[in-house]
Subunit: 476 residues, 2 copies
């Protein structure tokens, strides 16, 4: 099961005594071959045993190397519960990929074995048609719960909560709770058992009951006597960054989530928030590198991979051609001082590098809350100071190279001064654009790069060629 | 306190009833001004109260806007315990920055209030001289514990474990444990109370005791009767990626860590691993953008920021100049067909974009365990197929632009063919270089970018100008 809803689950004794631990497993050379054989053989027990013997990443690797037909065989040969367990060890994107190989009844049987929040996540990653069909195939109440969660996006409390929590009416007695716990020992293993949540007759949250308090309580007392009253809670609409903030400030394992009327909807666990935070950081990296519109795995269909990447590239090439237009304007100068052509790509690349550094620092400070999107001037001043130093250094270096190579001091002057000023431009734009984008609701990770390159290229070409035109007689 | 060692800490009733929750706080306009005033006023209680009223990110923001003198006042005006608490809400880099403003005794008093693993983290972020001094100022036993932890790097179990766990000898009785729990209710709040860890006479780990098992046990029995025997454990040397794998596969809150003799050293919590995973993803992003050798905050000294960034830029400019050298070789051709100069930066930038996409996908698949560093051929084939499609599309586009603009079909042919082939080169290098770097122990996030740009630039310039030279008579 995944980190985001079972983190408080009592240790599972079977897996506890299972040896060797995955951390100790020597990875098989080609685990997918054995996996394929076992699936074809249709031996459910042997298959489950083999899958359990693999570490999470070997499970992911093995499945990624099998075709859709085998995906289907593996998932349908295993008991639905184990298949659900397997899917939960995979990245969401790979899990969705596998489920797409299944028939609606097969998929529904497996989805049925998942906790509500993961059902919503998985269905959200499937294509709408299949997701709708699977929902139809689920028990009414279950489908309703999933629809409710699916109504929230992944980055608000409502989309991260688990409904599988222990709830009691405030009037329940300690004895009743303990009795219930021992009777349902098996079942409540799948629940968050560190705390129970107490509600009033209107299902409004009134208290939190740390299970351990039961150890020291009188059995006939109502649990309300040993609960923590007026507990902290968050609204279902609380966004991810506030949740991250909340768990940075408080050391709770989870926080109860209530709706507008204060009704208890479920609990968001710290691990669910950590998990989303990691995903956000990973996707910032992917987006900054031009992987937009969802993750790419090389096991995806070729056309999908090519199309996604191309959509990003085609925007960039248009911007690029626009920027290069500046060169065309100065063709005559360039024709007379051909040496300049050598330095145009250098100016363009180096300004890109300087600007990207500023982008990275701004995005980092935004995510740490160390700068506010409105503080453009502050950031600009901080960047310009760095730009002056680094621009001077880089400009001097490239000037020296030009002089040594071309023997004309004025060429050095032109390219050096151009790189100096363009570095200032690059860090200024790189530092402030992420704030600007964030402020107006765009994603800095996606848009900062192309904006930066385009402006710095245009500006860089203009500086080099404009200066050269002004000093043309000295350069020829 | 931080997520990585207190995640199983019982809910702290004081903060539970504290209102409003940070998630609800309306951020102050300039919290640092009030913070500065309160520090200058030296009113400890008011200061603590105000700090507690701020969300974690507002605390970080406010402190980042105060100078070193005020950092000192804030941290020394508060009781050491609250100062420690405050530091633990900050990013490690900011915490270290603050502590550097303190005298050794002041710093030691605060460090003394932190759990052992965080002491090690913090001291690791300070400059060696100060860290050594602070260690000297700590109680002998405490210093020894920190040194032990500091001996491990942050990315192995030994560097992530907490020593503050409940340990009992296997012969202890249920009654004795329960008595101990109720007597030390206060103290054990600071310990991991979901599980106790049982050792033999040689301090070797023999079992794990879920606290809830105490609810249903006979008081006179030894805890060994209700423990989970032969529990899973990891070695102190287990690396981070295996720990991530372990917690993906198992749904434990933590795993006991043993040394070579099987002696129990402590417990690594899931949250400590999640936290390191997030940091790894964030630092991949920073490194890929050219922020190397540690994070940068704009509150750091100007020279440090400029120097760090410049060290990265200077490597890149050298590589850049080398690549641009190819252009110099073909100056005569360029002089005759000046239009080519417009397309050189386009070819260079677009190849960079295509290559970066391949880099991102490779790094993602490596981190998900979906590809092994040895599988270069597999990755190359997957990339070439995408490169053929996107290269053709981009090549065609740029060719059309060239023809429309210049009217010479052969110019379009040259730049189109060049971009087509260079896209193939870019995705091939971008896809395989991360595997190669990883395989030989280098950091793909740092080195992939510069390697990629250099090779694709050289190759791109060579293709354009080489082809042009070959077809020179058609182009003039």
């Amino acid at each position: 099961m995944t980190m985001d809803n079972e983190n408080d689950r009592p240790i599972d004794e079977t897996s506890l005594s299972q040896q060797p631990t995955p951390a100790m497993t020597i990875p098989m050379d080609r685990p997918w071959e054995r996996l394929g054989e076992l699936a074809d053989a249709g031996d459910s027990d042997a298959l489950v045993e083999f899958v359990d013997s693999l570490s999470a990443s070997d499970q992911a690797l093995a499945l990624s190397r099998l075709d859709g037909a085998h995906h289907k065989t593996v998932l349908t040969t295993m008991p639905a519960e184990d298949a659900a367990e397997l899917l939960r060890h995979l990245s969401e994107i790979q899990a969705a990929d596998l489920v797409e190989s299944l028939s609606i009844p097969e998929a529904a049987a497996i989805v049925h074995e998942m906790p509500s929040d993961e059902q919503a996540d998985l269905l959200g990653d499937l294509d709408e048609e299949q997701a709708a069909q699977i929902l139809k195939a689920l028990p009414k109440a279950e489908a309703r719960a999933v629809r409710q969660l699916a109504a929230y996006s992944d980055d608000v409390a409502g989309g991260l909560l688990v409904r599988e929590i222990l709830r009691f009416d405030r009037s329940t007695t300690v004895a009743e709770v303990i009795a219930m716990l021992s009777e349902n020992a098996e079942e409540f293993r799948d629940y968050d058992v560190q705390y129970a949540y107490l509600t009033d007759s209107d299902k409004r949250l009134v208290g939190v009951l740390p299970m351990r308090n039961l150890l020291f309580a009188r059995r006939k007392d109502p649990v309300a006597d040993i609960m923590i009253a007026d507990p902290l809670s968050v609204r279902d609409t609380t966004p991810l960054d506030e949740l991250i903030d909340f768990f940075d400030t408080h050391h709770f394992l989870g926080v109860p989530v209530v709706d507008a009327e204060g009704k208890l909807l479920g609990v968001v666990h710290r691990n669910a928030v950590d998990y989303e935070a990691t995903r956000a950081a990973e996707s910032d990296f992917l987006k900054s590198q031009g992987i937009i519109g969802g993750e790419e795995l090389r096991t995806m269909p070729l056309w999908q991979r090519a199309k996604r990447r191309l959509s990003w590239l085609s925007i960039n090439i248009v911007l690029n051609i626009g920027a290069a237009g500046v060169i065309a304007v100065y063709q005559d100068t360039l024709a007379k001082v051909i040496a300049l052509a050598v330095f145009l790509p250098i100016i363009s690349d180096m300004s890109g590098c300087s600007g990207n550094q500023a982008v990275a620092v701004s995005m980092r400070e935004l995510s740490l809350g160390l700068v506010r999107p409105t503080e453009m001037m502050r950031v600009w001043l901080k960047e310009v100071s760095v730009g002056l130093i680094n621009g001077a250094a880089l400009g001097a270096l490239v000037a020296i190279v030009a002089v040594i190579w071309d023997g004309n001091g004025y060429l050095g002057l032109v390219v050096g001064v151009a790189l100096f000023f363009n570095t200032l431009v690059a860090v200024s734009i790189g530092g402030t654009v992420p704030l600007l984008l964030k402020r107006f609701g765009f994603d800095p990770a996606v848009a900062s790069g192309p904006l930066l390159t385009t402006v710095t290229d245009m500006c860089g070409f203009f500086l080099v060629l404009g200066l050269a035109t002004a000093m043309l007689d000295r350069l020829i």
